[in-house]
Symmetry: C2
Subunit: 179 residues, 2 copies
């Protein structure tokens, strides 16, 4: 089974972008380059929801080069750009099939809405973050509300340049209902 | 000037309690005992907002022993219990005066509403968390939305028992507006 990973750089209060999508607060370093390169070597597929896609495209980056890109949407009607394939099917079923095919790891890009669906369907294997030393105070959250709690196991912890903290967790299953 | 600290144990998605205030998911360990004991040795005053107080009291714990306890509220009319003093004045002015008095450190208990007021008034010096390996999916947030971003500096990072991550940041001032 291919590994599905969700994560992003985030602020200490859990935002991955300002309300307008801006990520000007990100700290780039050799550490980030090293971790990001290792991660991208292990994947060949990128999944994102429509809102995340549109925010990324507004900032210039749409489909990522060298990987298969899928955008999940019921409002789009065709592939929105070359190299970006539209999926109108149920996301959980699609990702479940994808995991069973041969290939490298699968990256879920955040905004949290697609991740919520995939967490609930037990399809995410690892969750990570590069926690930046800032409280953004508002914006796009890394995690949306979930119907059930998700139990994690700390796999990796590293203090990296710029006062950032890299954490990686394995998903160990769902816990009790949050309502 | 006395140091003012805000922080709590939280889930990876930033909740300090379930929606009903429950903290049954907390992992207790010798590490937590060591960090907590050292922290409590350095403070003599605890501040909390009314909602946090009422949630704590519903779970059995009201005023903390051995420290001065203050609850901020405009709806309460008298000290709600022995050892818990009501403050109806402006919280920022009150804490500003308190910081200038002699004494040990000051702890702001979380719920986030009082912390938001004090962040905005530049009165919080350190922010910490004991990040637990779980996504609670909902509940009481460690951080509420802030009108301006808050720049931090990583002071301490420690992997502790149970897959928990202890982080401590110094507050380095306000950044740009979040709106």
């Amino acid at each position: 089974m291919r590994k599905v990973t969700y994560g992003a750089a985030c602020s200490f209060d859990g935002y991955i972008a300002r309300a307008d999508g801006a990520v000007d607060w990100l700290h780039w370093s050799d550490d980030v380059l090293r971790l990001t390169s290792a991660y991208w070597d292990g994947i060949d597929t990128v999944l994102m929801g429509r809102k995340t896609y549109e925010m990324a495209r507004a900032l210039g980056s749409g489909a990522y080069p060298g990987v298969e890109n899928f955008v999940f949407s019921r409002t789009l009607h065709e592939d929105p750009e070359p190299g970006m394939r539209l999926v109108r099917d149920d996301a959980s079923q699609f990702v479940d099939r994808l995991k069973r095919q041969s290939g490298r790891g699968i990256c879920v890009m955040g905004g949290g809405a697609l991740a919520r669906t995939l967490f609930e369907a037990d399809l995410i294997d690892e969750v990570g973050a590069n926690i930046h030393p800032v409280l953004l105070g508002g914006g796009v959250r890394l995690f949306q509300r979930l119907p059930r709690e998700i139990r994690l196991e700390l796999l990796q912890l590293e203090r990296i340049a710029g006062g950032c903290v890299y954490v990686l967790y394995g998903v160990r299953g769902k816990g009790r209902s949050t309502t």
